[in-house]
């Protein structure tokens, strides 16, 4: 088998003295959806940051498309085609919604208006507010803008940290539909989700992270079917 599109292997590292990540491995094939679940504070967001280069790793390597990017800065990784929606602080509050989306397309030199229309189509509530400052939006609307911004990048690897936190069910469905669609176009998706059952439904591969290490790894449906996983991590 060809090597996976993203492979982050055996990552170890943290913020201060203690390690948060203890040998965490994440891989995503091209066009696949990978979902990370786990208890709060397990290190999911930290793992995402590590993959994106926002955390210094003590050990481990990150390969993108076969190329070692462990030493690259986040900004260089953006240019390599990685897009990221952080869990918090994921919008530009005093810029309008439209400008937020434009910023998503910052590294693109082509005409991005079509993509923008798609985003507005996906999130009609946000489209109504395109001239409003993003900081004045409701929690769920912000989340939509954040995801929209990442979609604007047209990345080849899209990383989402809890994209559906706080969005209403109808939008969540749309969002998951859209993510499936995006993946079909050959873009790899790596996301953290607490709406785990819905997410695992659509996941090609699921990781359960506990204390910074992989506890379970399997296809989404298989994890959903595992009663132990269900009970301890998916809320029954």
């Amino acid at each position: 088998m060809a090597q996976p599109y993203l492979s982050a292997t055996d990552m170890r590292g943290g913020y201060g003295k203690a390690d948060i990540l203890n040998g965490c491995t994440l891989t995503v094939e091209k066009g696949q959806i990978a979902v990370i679940v786990g208890p709060n504070g397990a290190g999911k967001s930290t793992a995402m940051k590590a993959v994106f280069g926002m955390l210094n790793l003590r050990e481990g390597a990150v390969l993108l498309n076969g190329q070692d990017i462990t030493a690259l800065t986040p900004q260089e990784r953006v240019h390599k085609g990685m897009g990221f929606v952080p869990q918090t602080h994921n919008i530009f509050p005093t810029m309008t919604v439209e400008e937020n989306l434009e910023m998503g397309a910052f590294i693109r030199n082509d005409d991005y208006r079509a993509t923008m229309e798609q985003v507005y189509h996906l999130f009609p509530a946000v489209a109504d507010k395109r001239r409003q400052n993003a900081g004045e939006l409701s929690g769920g609307q912000r989340q939509q803008v954040a995801v929209g911004r990442a979609l604007m990048t047209q990345p080849s690897l899209l990383m989402l940290d809890e994209p559906t936190a706080g969005v209403s069910p109808i939008v969540m469905d749309e969002l998951f539909d859209r993510i499936i669609e995006v993946a079909r176009t050959g873009i790899s998706i790596l996301m953290v989700e607490q709406n785990a059952r819905q997410a695992l439904e659509i996941a090609d591969i699921g990781y359960v992270l506990v204390q910074g290490a992989n506890a379970y790894t399997d296809t989404g449906p298989a994890l959903l079917a595992d009663p132990e996983v269900r009970r301890t991590f998916l809320g029954g």
Partner: protein, 335 residues
Amino acid sequence: MDILNAIVTLLNFVVIPAAAYGAQLALGALGVTLIYGILRFSNFAHGDTMAFGTALVILVTWALQAVGISLTPLPTALLALPIGIALTALFVLGTDRVVYRFYRKKRSAPIILVMASVGVMFIMNGLTRIIPNIGVREIRFDDGARFLISVQDFKAWTGLNEGLSLRVSQALTLIVTALCCWALFRFLNRTRSGKAMRAYSDNEDLALLSGINPEQVVRLTWIIATALAVTAGTLYGLDKSFKAFNYFQILLPIFAAAIVGGLGNPLGAVAGGFIVAFSEVAVTYPWKKVANYLGFQPEGLLQLLSTEYKFAVSFVILIVVLLFRPTGLFRGKSV
């Protein structure tokens, strides 16, 4: 006729001087507000950047004059300005590299950056004063014509009792300020780099994730702010005269202007500059003469407050404005 006299008096003593002073403050405040908006700290070294830059402009002006280049009837300093800006910008970028970058990387609290800027202020303050031939002296470098309209000419043309004067430097200041504002606005709101700067100021990490090069944004910010500062400093020096100490003193009203307009908001900085200037001049203006022309014969001077309190007046106005609009007239940021 008397009405005309009254109007001319007002123009001559209140409107024109306040407008020119306001424009100078506005230019300075624009720089302060830009740094605040994007790098998120109050730069105390701004006044001394103005002084330092102006000192360099003067040196270049002298050099130009020495080789016989001049720009009459406009002041030669305008020719020297770009060079002065470039030199100062180099210096300022150096301070960023040596001083501020460290704290940015460490994500220090804004107050630490403010204190670092106080350190830079002290250093620039000293440097300006030990530049040979500049030092603590008072220097005039406004060659070229001084007046567009002088009092005597005006009286002769119009036959009015009251005169009106408009200096070249005043006119220049107003024009340049308007140009700078317009350009800055277009830049921030329309261009890619401008938007990148605003994005950076909003959310540094996310800007990074969007592929914006933060160091480039920071550099650009410093360069623009320096250009504004040196321009402001030079215009101010042309209008009054150059004295390093005064540039330090002018920092206070500049901050007042930036804040009353709303920190981080360029439009606010401009409005703030004029508010501070007009309140200083107008509130302490004795209306006796004007009243005389309008047919009243008041006993006193009709002065609301004596000029000793002019600074206080502008601060009172500022506080009142803030009480009703707690983040300034144009909704600024607050750290």
